[in-house]
């Protein structure tokens, strides 16, 4: 039974592709609830099963086992009604190349059955995203194609947005606009299911995160809890040489691990505050300091190797 505040309710959902020796398990008994009014980040490396989950929810592919509902409606039996109330942005967006943005917007709006009001909202979105809808799709850059995809997905103000890697290829300014739009969606009590493999994006806009790996849901946590395991890779370059004894000092610090050196450079993995590190390296002349975000794979490894507790 669906929890009253759940928009998406998934129970034991599995999907296998192929048959016999070529059979691939893309999604393994997924159980997941997405709550009304939240932005849910669906995080996982490429090939983890994120797109498979989304295509199942949209009834583009059929489950091998399990079930799911959206708005309390079955994804198979009530798929048309569900799709009336959701907006979708596919990871590999493909649009009708010979048509202009305006023509595609009109087409999609006409299938949705409300051309006038949807087109008006589409104009507003296009203006916000700085998109010229008079150009043919084949003449648009990949970033502008993705903007058009966002307009199509959002122009009918859906109750639920399902977005599969939406910001890849968008410039930082547009990404910022997109994040603002997502905040506005949440403020209106609407729900967003956002698939991504970019941790920083999920951190920036999501309330909760589900981590998917090899078709299995590994964890569902708040963003704060997931980022508890966050660490940074720090790369320090000294002008002359690494100060004597620095490596030992760093290796003795509880927040630093994996120290390695290369000429006048020292690289380490750091958790927590920067101050102890800055004091430790202060003995030398620091020429450069690079701080890298952990990759999603780093987070996975940290999360499941016990570093979370550290």
């Amino acid at each position: 039974m669906m929890a009253s505040d759940s928009v998406i309710e998934i129970t034991g959902l599995s999907k296998t592709y192929g048959s016999g020796k070529n059979q691939t398990l893309a999604l393994d008994r997924l159980d997941l609830s997405v709550l009304r009014g939240e932005i849910f980040g669906y995080l996982g490396p490429n090939g983890a099963g994120k797109t498979t989950t989304i295509r199942l929810l949209l009834d583009l592919i059929r489950p091998s086992a399990g079930s799911a509902s959206i708005f309390g409606l079955d994804i198979r039996a009530d798929s048309v009604e569900i799709r009336r109330r959701i907006g979708f942005f596919p990871a590999e967006l493909s649009l009708w190349e010979g048509r202009t943005g305006d023509q595609i917007i009109h087409y999609v709006a006409s299938v949705r059955g409300d051309t006038r009001s949807i087109a008006k909202h589409a104009d507003e979105l296009a203006e916000r995203l700085d998109l010229d809808t008079t150009k043919r799709v084949r003449d648009l850059s990949s970033g502008n194609k993705r903007k058009l995809g966002l307009v199509i997905g959002m122009m009918h103000s859906p109750e639920l947005l399902i977005l599969d890697e939406p910001t890849g290829g968008l410039d930082p300014l547009v990404q910022q606009t997109f994040h603002t739009m997502m905040d506005e969606y949440r403020a209106k009590g609407k729900t967003v299911f956002l698939s991504s493999h970019v941790l920083s994006e999920v951190q920036a806009i999501c309330d909760r995160v589900g981590i998917l790996r090899d078709g299995e849901l590994k964890a569902v946590e708040s963003v704060e809890k997931i980022t508890d395991v966050e660490f940074h890779w720090v790369d320090v370059g000294f002008r002359d040489a690494i100060p004597a004894g620095l490596q030992q000092t760093l290796e003795g610090m509880p927040s630093i691990t994996d120290v390695s050196t290369n000429g006048a450079r020292v690289r380490m993995r750091m958790i927590g505050d920067f101050d102890p590190l800055l004091r430790a390296i202060g003995a030398g002349y620091v020429e450069s300091l690079h701080i890298e975000e952990p990759t999603l794979e780093d987070i996975f490894l940290a999360y499941y190797s016990g570093d979370k507790e550290n």
Binding site: L58, V80, G98, V108
Partner: protein, 268 residues
């Protein structure tokens, strides 16, 4: 909104329809204006000298006298051996109904909208069928223009019948292509199977015509092209059982496509 996919499909296709129609009608026009250049008595003697298999390959059966008329010349020169050319357009359109959109990914966008798969197929099928009619109309206009320009004596009513008989043939080929694409999923595989289907049908029709009066004659009955024989249409006019056969088969192929497409994964 009902009809939105139908209308959009027409908008996306009308130019191709015009290009194909104009190209084929130019070919027809050329054949018609060549009619006065030939002496039909010589033509009759020439045809009589051909072995049956060669006649069969150009779509001529035993009733040679039909083909020694002006209408018969057009039937051989344009409709007879061009049956394979007429098959190309409906194959291209049949592939567009599902296979091309699935391959390109636009089907994902379309089916993420509140629309049933069956409605997508039916509306696209009807739209492409309308474009087949458009192509045929343009072909007829080309032939008619040839009659006017060349001052050729042709039975325009019979010409109209032979031309419009192409519509059920083209719709049938499109429906067969659609079903094969729905079953095969991959566009390249579907295209290979459809091509083989059309070529094998052509070969079976040829064997059937060449073997008229022998035990091998019924082989031709298996080929759908046997039911589009310009000579027969010139002699008898519309052959309604054949037209009904094309229509019924097209309907069955459409139903089979709807059944299968509604039960399978998209774009996998």
């Amino acid at each position: 909104m009902i009809g939105s996919v139908f209308l959009e499909t027409l908008k996306q296709t009308w130019k191709q329809m015009v290009y194909w129609g104009v190209g084929l009608s130019a070919m027809g026009l050329l054949v018609v204006i060549m009619v006065p250049l030939f002496n039909m008595q010589d033509m009759a003697r020439l045809l009589e000298s051909f072995p049956p298999v060669i006649l069969a390959m150009i779509g001529v059966g035993k009733e040679l006298e039909i083909f020694t008329t002006n209408e018969g010349f057009v039937a051989i020169g344009f409709f007879g051996k061009s049956a394979l050319i007429f098959a190309v357009y409906p194959v291209v359109m049949g592939m567009r109904i599902t296979a091309n959109e699935e391959d390109s990914g636009t089907m994902d966008v379309l089916l993420s909208l509140p629309i049933e798969r069956a409605r997508v197929i039916v509306e696209k099928f009807l739209a492409y069928a309308v474009t087949c009619v458009g192509v045929v109309v343009l072909i007829y206009l080309g032939l008619h223009l040839g009659v006017i320009i060349g001052g050729v004596e042709l039975d325009v009513a019979r010409l109209l019948e032979v031309t419009f008989y192409l519509i059920p043939l083209m719709v049938f080929i499109m429906a067969a292509t659609m079903l094969i694409a729905v079953l095969a999923r991959r566009r390249t595989v579907a295209l290979g199977i459809v091509t083989a289907f059309v070529i094998v049908s052509y070969m079976l029709q040829t064997i059937g015509l060449a073997a008229e009066g022998t035990v091998a004659e019924p082989i031709g009955a298996v080929s759908f092209l046997t039911y589009y024989n310009a000579g027969d249409i010139l002699a008898q006019g519309f052959i309604w059982p054949h037209i009904a056969g094309f229509v019924i088969l097209s309907g069955l192929l459409l139903l089979a496509s709807l059944y299968r497409y509604d039960r399978r994964d998209i774009g996998v």
